[in-house]
Symmetry: C2
Subunit: 211 residues, 2 copies
DNA sequence: TTGCACCGTGTCACTTAGTGACGTACTGTC
DNA sequence: GACAGTACGTCACTAAGTGACACGGTGCAA
């Protein structure tokens, strides 16, 4: 089974699981229900996810993987702000890599919101960002010309990941609370916020162009 | 049941659970086994812990709570380094507040190590630091004279917590790998490391004395 | 001392998350 | 068109966790 196909299936399951979690709560939705919602056997669900909560991971990861992909292509010569704005506008304009479905983004925000009160989902959310942290390690290690498991690199990566996570939580909460969504569609403004978060969380070490 | 008594019981359960997790792996130890090890009924275990993995939380939190307590008493006029060194030496000398049993510290490190390979324990470890993050929010918010749920405060808190976590992971791994333990008994050196971690993770905003 | 209320724990029955074993059907390849 | 690989379904099973209720200890008032 191709990596892509597997990812798509996981996402599809995740979508239905998230919807059910939101509509009736995590505890109240059973594995059987999720299985039925995606027309699969329950056994197959557990073959693709190690636990019920982790069914939420793909949907919350979706928005994050774009950011990660963008960061991976960050050239040494440009600043974080510049790179984010150019790449994000490119993604927004040329739809060849459809960033993320809007409904999916809403679903992700709902999961983050649920994670506030449901410890089971909180673990899933934190585990998702644990992945982000690992990805950050190689990105930052690469930029600082140090091994990815270097202590300082790991600390910077952890800080950056945590800052991004909190920013994401904040945005999600704001949108769900009915805030003006247009402020999050301004690519330059959003880029600046993420860049600023990463900069300060790494003590200014990550953000500037490097030789 | 007094808060303290409840905490002590949780810690006792956690101790045995951690020992079993380390000796035979998480999957291989059952709730019944943990219960038997502390001479309680299985039902009582689930009354004190929401899941098997979370049994590890108190033991890994133990070392962290000292740091948190110390941070809570951080006076505005002193720098982070100074306060940490003075408080930690005071703790080390005056044993009236027994910091943490050495065996417990070793156990905690083992759990952190296990968390590297066992996703179930990783969630517990991350959840423990989620608590740290919340505590950091009020400490930093207080210091910056802002509400604890302010976005910037939360980002700084998240960064600081993450940095401390990685440092803790690093120290744990080093000790278990047989590194020279004496370098971690030098209070000033350790204080400097933690202070430096928090400083850079907060972009230098948290660390200096404030008016 | 008796009586009462409270609460932490044990017992037992029950639900459900998650796994192992095996059969089947689909897919691509020679 | 036979064959290997593998994703999925079925079924039986283990174990994590919960609900309901009974028991026993502690504190307090009469």
């Amino acid at each position: 089974m191709s990596e892509q196909r597997r990812a798509r299936l996981r996402l599809e399951i995740s979508r239905e699981a998230a919807r059910l979690f939101w509509e009736q709560g995590v505890a109240a939705t059973s594995g059987d229900q999720i299985a039925e919602a995606v027309s699969l056997s329950t056994r197959t669900i557990w073959r693709h996810f190690r636990s019920k909560e982790s069914c939420a991971e793909p949907i919350v990861m979706q928005g994050v993987v774009t950011l990660m992909t963008v960061l991976r292509s960050w050239p040494r010569r440009s600043s974080l702000e510049d790179h984010l704005t150019t790449e994000l506008t490119r993604l927004r304009l040329g739809h060849q890599t459809p960033p993320v479905d809007l409904a999916d983004e809403m679903l992700a925000m709902k999961m983050i919101r649920l994670a506030d009160t449901e410890p089971a989902l909180r673990t899933a959310w934190l585990m998702a960002y644990d992945q982000v942290e690992r990805a950050m390690c190689v990105i930052i290690g690469d930029r600082l010309e140090r091994p990815a498991d270097d202590l300082e690199v790991r600390m910077h990566a952890a800080g950056a990941a945590a800052a991004v996570r909190v920013l994401e939580e904040h945005i999600g909460a704001a949108v769900l609370a009915g805030a003006d969504v247009t402020q999050f569609t301004d690519v330059t403004a959003v880029s600046r916020r993420f860049a600023h978060a990463i900069r300060t969380a790494t003590g200014g070490v990550v953000g500037d162009p490097v030789a």
